[in-house]
């Protein structure tokens, strides 16, 4: 073996243009793709041609111009005001806001409930373990549509009428829905909310400072207490600055219904309760499998290093479990949002309900449905993008 000198690394030579033979891999790939695109394009052209012809024959109008017309129908609950001249744009916005309202509240409640039940599957208490197990099995195996129908009957037929409403202090539960006191909104409450937000930001900054301090000296400052004090304190300050308003609107029994206060309609309550209980069972399963995915060896290694159970949970088990939990968790959030579309069956005016009424009124089925699908698709793609970003940044680095 002669002693050669080492060959140094050289950059990749540029690709030379050659003619593509039909037998090569590139050639075949081009053919397949051209065929695929051509077939799909032909199919689409055929369908569009048939559709246009059928629509002409049946006298079906098309176009999105109806969106500028006043919609004229009644919406039972809405977060933005409307009148007889409001256009279909407003109608669809009402629907979308109603969907978001039930989805956001539902996601928060379902996560809390689902996590409690998922963690409860590991309880040292036999009864709690079994109750959590059967909760999951029961709510998972019954269709959500059926569950919503049942809750709707409970809220509209089983509950007493408003004259005999179940009452706890100023809270009323009846066929009218769930009524609760709501403050009369003035400057004070707005400032209190601003104070709350500032408090949250402040406690986040404080937590960062405390973490740096811990790195430097090994001593922990009481982050939880300080955060609580900051949030409550600044909110209180805001409220005082606004004149300390104490006006509450209290629900009272009127002649035809419960008046004043704020209320969750029976439709909203049935939808929210049904969605939360159903989705929580799936979230519980996800949390449970996330926690069990962390191998026993990790717990043991943490214990053998002298970490307490709480420290081990916080520093070793939860970070690993969360990476397994979060991707399926976000798809459950999406499922809850999509399932809220079943509101059309129980009369809650969400996006699909409004679209349904619209297409019955105007006959523009395709246009109305396409708007609905576009909205849901956008929500879905935003969530997917966030998920991919999370996966990429939190992925456990491997070789």
């Amino acid at each position: 073996m002669s002693n050669q000198s080492m060959i140094e690394a050289r950059p990749l030579p540029a690709k030379k243009r050659r003619s593509i033979s039909w037998n090569s891999r590139e050639g075949r790939s081009v053919i397949y793709q051209v065929v695929a695109i051509a077939s799909v394009a032909t199919l689409i052209w055929l369908l569009v041609r048939n559709t246009l012809r059928n629509m002409r024959e049946r006298g079906i109008q098309s176009g999105y111009d109806f969106m500028g017309q006043p919609f004229g129908f009644d919406v039972s609950e809405t977060m933005i005001p409307y009148d007889v001249m409001s256009t279909y744009w407003t109608a669809f916005s009402i629907g979308m806001l109603n969907t978001l309202k039930v989805a956001l509240i539902g996601i928060v409640l379902a996560t809390i409930l689902g996590t409690l039940i998922g963690v409860g599957r590991f309880s040292p208490n036999f009864l709690l373990r079994k109750i959590c197990y059967w909760y999951v099995e029961f709510f998972r195996n019954v269709p959500i549509y059926l569950q919503l129908l049942i809750w709707y009957i409970v809220f509209t037929e089983v509950l007493p009428s408003f004259e005999e409403a179940w009452q706890v202090g100023h809270f009323y539960l009846s066929k009218n829905g769930f009524s609760f006191p709501w403050p009369v909104w003035q400057l004070g409450q707005t400032l209190a909310l601003i104070g709350l937000v500032l408090g949250v930001v402040g406690s986040w900054l404080y937590a960062r400072k405390a973490s740096k301090h811990f790195d430097l000296t090994g001593q922990q400052r009481p982050v939880l207490l300080v955060s609580l004090a900051l949030i409550v304190g600044l909110a209180l300050l805001g409220w005082l600055a606004g004149g300390a308003p104490t006006g509450w609107s209290l629900p009272v029994k009127g002649d035809f219904q419960i008046e004043e206060g704020a209320a969750f309609s029976p439709e909203f309550s049935a939808l929210l309760l049904g969605l939360v209980l159903y989705t929580a069972s799936f979230i519980a399963e996800i949390v449970r499998s996330g926690i069990s995915s962390v191998s026993l060896g990790q717990h043991e290694a943490a214990a053998s290093l002298g970490l307490s159970k709480r420290q081990s949970m916080r520093l070793v088990v939860l970070p690993q479990a969360l990476r397994v939990i979060i991707p399926p968790l976000t798809s459950q959030y999406l499922n809850l949002t999509k399932n809220s579309s079943l509101a059309v069956a129980i009369g809650y005016p969400d996006l699909v309900s409004i679209a349904n009424t619209t297409l019955n009124q105007t006959g523009r089925a395709i246009e109305a449905l396409s708007i609905v699908m576009l909205v849901y698709l956008t929500l879905s793609l935003i969530t997917s993008a966030l998920m991919n970003w999370f996966n990429a940044s939190a992925a456990i680095q491997e070789r």
Binding site: S304, G306, I396, Q397
Partner: protein, 251 residues
Amino acid sequence: MSQSEAPIIQFDNVNKWYASNGYHVLRDVNLSFAKGEKVVICGPSGSGKSTLIRCINALEEYQQGKLTVDGTVIGDDLKGIDKVRREVGMVFQQFNLFPHLTVLENLILSPTWVAKLPRNVAIEKAMVQLERVRIAEHANKYPLQLSGGQQQRVAIARALCLTPKIMLFDEPTSALDPEMIKEVLDVMIGLADQGMTMLCVTHEMGFAKAVADRVIFMDQGQVVEQNTPTEFFNHPQTDRSKDFLSKILGH
């Protein structure tokens, strides 16, 4: 074996049963280990040797007898167990490094959160240990980016960061490819030369011959034989030990 000091680990008639099936896994174990002693524990699988050393840092509980580690009796007292765990380091067969933390973060986790050292002091100490196991250049890599042998050396360094008095090794090389076993054994021999008290469950007889003061042979939950390595390997006293040795030394 030094007779003048009290033993650092003492098993007095220790018995353990598995709660799930009632199997009697440790039977009347009476052993003592002196400070600075290096002991290899061997035996067929299922003999209870891993269970034995996992009792020492309370990863397993025992039902009868008394186990004393560095003056503390291992029992229900949780504070005592915490104290023992800070003085006993453990290296696992499956490494059990924390995959979401870098090598350096794995090492300073316990010193910062349990011993409450400031971060920079912990980092200095960690780098010293990483040098000791000759892996300092990978300090900022993640465990899954390293080979098996490198991961096990990091695991040893992580246990050493607690400045333990005793190091327990539970089949540290059994999950490694053959060409990586040597690098880990070299580190363990280096530790032995520096006077650490070591209890090692292993099949690596070469290591036993090079470093051990004593070899303990266990079978079916009891101590069958204990002797110096030379004596044990060349003149096994019981049929069980003869049988076992013929199997593992055969090839």
